[in-house]
Amino acid sequence: MAVPAPVLTMSGIGKQFPGVKALDGVDLRLSPGEVHALMGENGAGKSTLIKVLTGVYPADTGTIELDGAAVAFGSPLEARQAGISTVYQEVNLCTNLSVAENVLIGREPRRLGRIDWKRMRARAAELLSRLELSLDVSAPLSSYSLAIQQMVAIARALDVDARVLILDEPTSSLDAGEVEQLFMVMRRLKEEGIAILFVSHFLDQIYEISDRMTILRNGRLVGEYLTSELSQVQLVAKMIGQELDALERLHGEARVFDRPLIEARELGRAGAIEPFSLTVHEGEVVGLAGLLGSGRTEIARLLFGADHAGTGEIAVGGAPASLRTPRAAMHHRIAFCSENRKADGLIPDLTVRENIILALQATRGWTRPVPREQQDELVGRYVKALRISPPNPEHLVRDLSGGNQQKVVLARWLILEPRLLILDEPTRGIDVGAKTEIQRLVAELSDGGVAVLFISAELEEVLRLSHKVEVLRDRRLVAELPNDAELTTDVLMETIASGGRDS
């Protein structure tokens, strides 16, 4: 396939942040009528590259050429006016305004300085119909789903004479049908000769839509490849810079454990989860499988004391225990990494060290501060063990990528040396490299005698790690399956679907 002349060329881009070299000699070229995937782990520099391109940050070194002419944008607005439009992962629109305004605000059709609402609505409807959407353009944007809002953002991006469209993880909150709709729109735009830069963590999506890809690792360029010439395994290896052996080696299996750590008997909470019985042994990884809202998180919260149990009892290490508050649970060395790391776990304006020390400090009480020396020693060890990047404990957590933030939350709990670690969706929204590392960590912890309760929507991951799998459906624990040779994702899905009646 002949390579059309690139519409946009970035060469030798370098960007330095205090303490981190975010980009170093990165090249990127985008051709008209092509979907170009930008690949890399969290923290590889994808977002920084996009921000340099769109004028959010100035580049320290390197040049950007648009149609052969050197450009340097001072703001996203200038980039847009030059024809480079961006749609971000979080929909950056004003949901309080109408759909039409969101498409056109800043460029409303006017007559004598007066906004011409009628023409504005007509123009917005026209732009949306280009994406095969028919919406009530005078309704507030908040009345539509996230997927539609994403499309509206694209319609807005296209109103200016866009030649380059950047889609920064547009699919992370969309369901399969919505992704298909988005891809249809992308193919259409491609035919119109627009160059699309696409960022996504979903490899299947990359292979479905992209023609070419550029891979980054640790702020450096790995290379540019045709999607059709690079297998998924090769891609992942290039992204994480190592072979996938580690990932393959891990495999959960059924084993006999004889030292029960936590026994829940008929534990339940009205409206949240039907009474269930569950035993977790030392060194055992128990997977919780089930659909979203099937009661997975509710079980975790009961065991951690975040919610009060209405019925039943818990024994820890054979002795009855009352886990009425998280504090009490922490006293029994139970740790809980919640699903929503941004809202519940991390304090973005504190440093990595401060965030990691937080839980340890809380168990000691404020009157006995952890000595600085001990802090540095502990934090240094976990930053190294978990490969938190950048490996600087004084970095603000806010500036870390999603996967590394997740590792900080993990480190916080690991420092307490828990006997039971509850992980609620620890790998969601993070890239494949960090995912592997977290999975390996779970396996290592379990070898060291720590019990792990592992919640994940990815059945494959549950199977890979767990010794036994608890299946949940409609807020009820319906089956407990040992992870033996017969247990496959298909069996799991069937159990979830049938509610465990057949087994």
Binding site: C94, T95, L97, I105, E108, R114, I115, S143
Partner: protein
């Protein structure tokens, strides 16, 4: 989708808060008419306008600020400062009103501009910036004089005593005309100009508005300037009404203005609300005063009690509305 059925017709959710305030006003008027003789007349409503024209103008400025998600605590002090500057310049050096009034408006706008620039440039909470402005303006009043300064300028007194007769024995003051013009101009700006739409967008999500390429900084500075201008104009109207300048005028008026805006259905978090709501909010506050005065035996502090209760109810309503639209 976000329409709520009322009876058989359906009203878009965004008009609902204004509708509630409108119904409240109507209900209060009817209740007053049943209870008190001579209450149910058009002049009672017009008197509410006449007695609160300055508050209405100030509340218009406040609406702009609150729509962006900000707050302006300085308005009462700027009103007082405006009356003080106007009165002292006319009483002392004997400057004519056509010089004094533009000067006062310029000073008020300038104060707003400075506060807006500080809020934007240093990214400081509007609450604290305008609190500082409030102390500053109130303090400046006393550097001019600690006593009330009467206004004896012929133009001012003539203006204050003019009655504009409408049909059937109804009349209004020139201040009401000015206030109505301000409301109409402001409504046009909010609905039909880029500035107005940027105000709503900024209040909806400042981050998004910026990424959409809107001039967020300029918008924020503009709303505080508008609020400063409206406060100064309110001060001029108040000096027509009081015929004096005094450092203790308009104490706590910022809170009345905020109350009127909130009762009018504008969300304190910004991005949602209408000027019509603010007008109704001012009318409701005025009508409460009227009812208390018709009652005769009640002390005027009951006004505050009712305003307080109303605010509680409306803030809870805001919660209910915004919780529902978020689902």
């Amino acid at each position: 989708m976000t329409t709520t059925a009322i009876g058989r017709t359906s009203v878009p959710a965004k008009y609902l808060p204004v509708l509630v305030t409108g119904c409240l006003f109507a209900a209060m008027f009817v209740a007053g008419g049943i209870r008190y003789e001579g209450f149910a007349s058009g002049q009672v409503v017009l008197n509410v306008f006449i007695d609160n024209a300055f508050l209405l103008v100030v509340a218009v400025g406040m609406t702009f600020v609150i729509l962006t998600g900000g707050i302006d605590l300085s308005v009462g002090s700027v009103v007082a400062l405006s009356t003080m500057i106007a009165a002292s310049l006319m009483a002392g050096p004997g400057w004519p009103p056509y010089v004094v009034i533009p000067l006062v408006l310029a000073i008020g706008s300038g104060l707003g501009l400075v506060m807006g620039a500080i809020v934007h440039a240093f990214d400081i909470q509007p609450f604290i910036v305008t609190l500082a402005g409030m102390f500053l303006a109130r303090g400046l009043c006393y550097t001019i004089g600690t006593d009330s300064i009467p206004i004896e300028d012929a133009t001012f007194t003539a203006f204050a005593q003019t009655r504009i007769d409408l049909f059937a024995d109804l009349w209004i003051s020139p201040s009401v005309v000015i206030a109505v013009v301000v409301v109409l101009v402001a409504a046009y700006v909010l609905h039909y100009t880029r500035l107005g739409r940027s105000v709503y967008a900024t209040g909806g999500s400042e981050q998004s508005a910026m990424l959409m390429g809107l001039p967020v900084g300029r918008t924020k500075i503009a709303v505080y300037t508008i609020s400063g201008f409206c406060s100064a104009l309110g001060g001029v109207l108040l000096s027509f009404y009081m015929l004096s300048g005094y450092g203790l005028h308009a104490v706590g008026m910022e809170l009345d203005a905020i109350a009127a805006v909130v009762i009018g259905g504008t969300l304190l978090t910004g991005g949602s609300g209408f000027l019509l709501g603010t007008v109704l909010g001012v009318l409701v506050l005025g009508l409460i005063q009227t009812i208390i005065s018709f009652e005769g035996t009640l002390s005027s502090w009951w006004t505050k009690i009712f305003i307080g209760l109303l605010l509680f109810v409306f803030i809870l309503l805001q919660r209910v509305f915004s919780a529902r639209t978020r689902r």
